[in-house]
């Protein structure tokens, strides 16, 4: 699996409004400029495509930062 920093970089690429290098592992993904429910879908699709892990609404509700997302993917992949 790619490392956490690579994950942040790839996630950044998913959003047009996000400048490269502006997100960090401890950034709250809900604070991405113009974050909306559409962005949540973009995150789910990105993770599904990249890791074959389909996050649930509950997974999103239980996470805050990008590092949390990374951790939940790792947990699901190790199951």
């Amino acid at each position: 699996m790619i490392d956490e920093n690579e994950f942040v970089r790839l996630l950044e690429n998913e959003f047009e409004d996000v400048e490269e290098g502006s997100l960090k592992p401890d950034s709250s993904y809900r604070e991405i400029p113009n974050f909306s429910s559409m962005y949540a879908l973009i995150i789910i699709a990105f993770i599904d495509n990249e890791f074959d892990v389909l996050l649930t609404g509950e997974d999103l509700r239980s996470t805050e930062t990008i590092a949390d997302l990374y951790a939940i993917i790792q947990k699901k992949l190790n199951k």
């Binding site: 879908l41 973009i42 699709a45 599904d48 495509n49 389909l54 609404g57 999103l60």
Partner: protein
């Protein structure tokens, strides 16, 4: 013996809703943001007195004008809608009379939503290949706008009201591939029309709750967007794989993928997952919104007009959504 789709017509509802119109009603969203989020420029809404069977009737009338099909040639009609005229009788009966069709024909309703077109094509194929009919007229009419709460931005910005008519005819060469079906009724909670029928009819409390918006007497569509999105990501790639396997085809054999135009984000995510090139992917949601059972015939018609479908083309069609329900096949041109 086989069958083929001979002609498609569609009819969009009369009222055009632009992003500027929506932004006026929902000032928290600019027109630009609405477009950026949903990828839709305009959608169509019917007026209260015009429902699904009216939109289907208009499309069918035009089909008779545009083709050599005579009313007396029609031996079976299937009417697909989620907005029937009455619980009983079947709306297909009303359409037989209204369209002036013969009385010795089959007429059935198919309340099927977003997988309606592919389900109906599968049924038409079965009717023709079993020798029951030569000409089947598929009619579609969906009016999600009539069951969307006026304050529900997501539904109001996504859905359109529209009708379609599709002529399926017996042919020497078979042009409609083997059909794959699927259903998961546990998905009902993610997309349904609440307080709409015998199980849970609208009551006094419901009318009181919705009195400022006319009472929502036809019920209210409720959508868990995340649930529908997850379903689409999980099931549609498997559906495509099963359609290809059942028809002995590889993904590269397909010239155009025409999915139900659910939403731009769903289509983009499926395209990415299946690694489909832009050239082979049909997007007709920008100018039309999600027209439910009409979205695939509308896309096929537009793709034909644009020359993206021609003789020899293999077109994979896949419908999916409310139910959950999904189906699809390959059309050989």
């Amino acid at each position: 013996m086989g069958c083929k789709i001979k002609h498609i017509t569609y009819h969009l509802a009369s009222e055009v809703i632009s992003n500027e119109d929506l932004s006026f009603e929902f000032p928290e969203f600019t027109a630009q943001r609405i477009y950026k989020n949903g990828g839709i420029k305009k959608r169509y809404r019917t007026i209260e007195s015009v429902i699904g069977s009216d939109l289907a009737y208009n499309a069918a009338t035009r089909l008779f004008e545009e083709t050599e099909l005579q009313r007396d040639d029609v031996e079976f009609i299937l009417f697909c809608t989620e907005g029937l005229d009455y619980i009983a009788p079947m709306t297909a009966c009303l359409l037989q009379d209204r369209l002036g069709l013969r009385q010795d024909i089959g007429a059935l309703d198919l309340p099927s939503g977003c997988s309606g077109f592919t389900n109906a094509v599968g049924m038409a194929k079965a009717i023709i290949e079993s020798g029951q009919s030569t000409n089947v007229l598929l009619l579609f009419g969906d009016t999600p706008g009539l069951v969307s709460h006026p304050k529900d931005f997501v539904l109001r910005s996504l859905f359109s009201d529209a009708g379609a008519a599709v002529w399926v005819v017996k042919s020497k060469e078979n042009k409609i591939g083997k059909v794959v079906y699927g259903v998961d009724g546990s998905g009902v909670k993610h997309l349904f029309v609440d307080q709409s029928c015998l199980r849970n009819p609208p009551n006094e409390a419901w009318f009181e709750k919705n009195k400022e918006v006319g009472g929502m007497p036809r019920g209210q569509m409720k959508m868990d967007g995340l649930g529908v999105f997850r379903f689409s990501l999980k099931k549609v790639p498997v559906l495509v794989d099963n359609i290809l396997k059942k028809n002995d085809l590889q993904i590269d054999d397909i010239d155009l993928f025409v999915f139900h135009q659910a939403s731009k984000i769903i289509l983009k995510s499926i395209q990415r997952k299946l690694k489909i090139s832009d050239k082979k992917m049909a997007y007709y949601i920008e100018e039309n919104g999600n027209t439910v059972s009409v979205s695939i015939p509308l896309a096929l018609k537009e793709a034909e007009k644009e020359g993206r479908i021609s003789k020899g083309s293999k077109v994979l069609i896949a419908g999916f959504g409310i139910g959950f329900s999904w189906s699809g096949t390959v059309l050989f041109y």
